[in-house]
Symmetry: C2
Subunit: 138 residues, 2 copies
Amino acid sequence: MDVIRRNTDYTIRAMVYLANCSSKQAKSARTIAQSEGIPYELACKLLQRLEKKKLVESSMGAQGGFRLKKRPSAINLMEIIETIQGPLELNRCLMNLKACERVVQCPIRKKLAKMQKELNNELKNTRLCDLITAKSKG
Amino acid sequence: MDVIRRNTDYTIRAMVYLANCSSKQAKSARTIAQSEGIPYELACKLLQRLEKKKLVESSMGAQGGFRLKKRPSAINLMEIIETIQGPLELNRCLMNLKACERVVQCPIRKKLAKMQKELNNELKNTRLCDLITAKSKG
DNA sequence: ACAAAGTAGGACTATATTAGTCTTATATGA
DNA sequence: TCATATAAGACTAATATAGTCCTACTTTGT
């Protein structure tokens, strides 16, 4: 996968899964992993990263697990993606000015920067709740 | 690089280089490679791929080399990118339906498909001549 | 005819990135 | 105190990308 990689995909699924649960009861990494087809050890890591970014909260020990820390309407796709992949970039030179010393790249860069901005906006405007609602439709 | 990878970047530079030349005289792969900072052997391969897609034409032997096969206004960024990287995809499931069996991906897919379309349009609307003109500005 | 300057293209190697696993430690509840 | 959890670093595997090597073939000029 390019912009949305496999681990990100796993993570989005996990978040949607949590969003569909009653938030009272924490879900264990194992449950989430099994339900969403994510390798268990990997699910642990991904969930830990979500926890560090305060997208979910964890409780240790028996009956522990993970639950959303915010309402689904307060979480957008962009922050989930960036939690796992880091900043999204269409072309390395957009982020890393040193990589762009060639005159030729500049006009391209301008175009790409515009596209990048539009992409970011779309992703920010897509909230976790949008994904849940849509799910029930089809 | 993500959407535009290094080899694609090399290739765009090579095309811009050719666009800036008088089309009468073929430029050797070696000349292009040196001018644009591309490893020579790699430049050969990239140019060969452009040739197969009829974006450039080659002539063999001494005094041979490559030149654009169409006017710079008749070549867009999208075709250059796809010649090197193949079809652009934001998320694998957009292209490969089998990869998307999970209900959860569907709403995401819809969003991504829209973004993908916009991106494609931008890339198609950017012609090689746009990159040259912009170059002279700065 | 032959040497030099080119492209053509397959096979191979190296590098980087991403995904996944293993292991050990620690916390909690019954 | 045991079973069930998370925490987290180190390691390995898989994949994708970039780059190199080698041989063959073509054209031009002498």
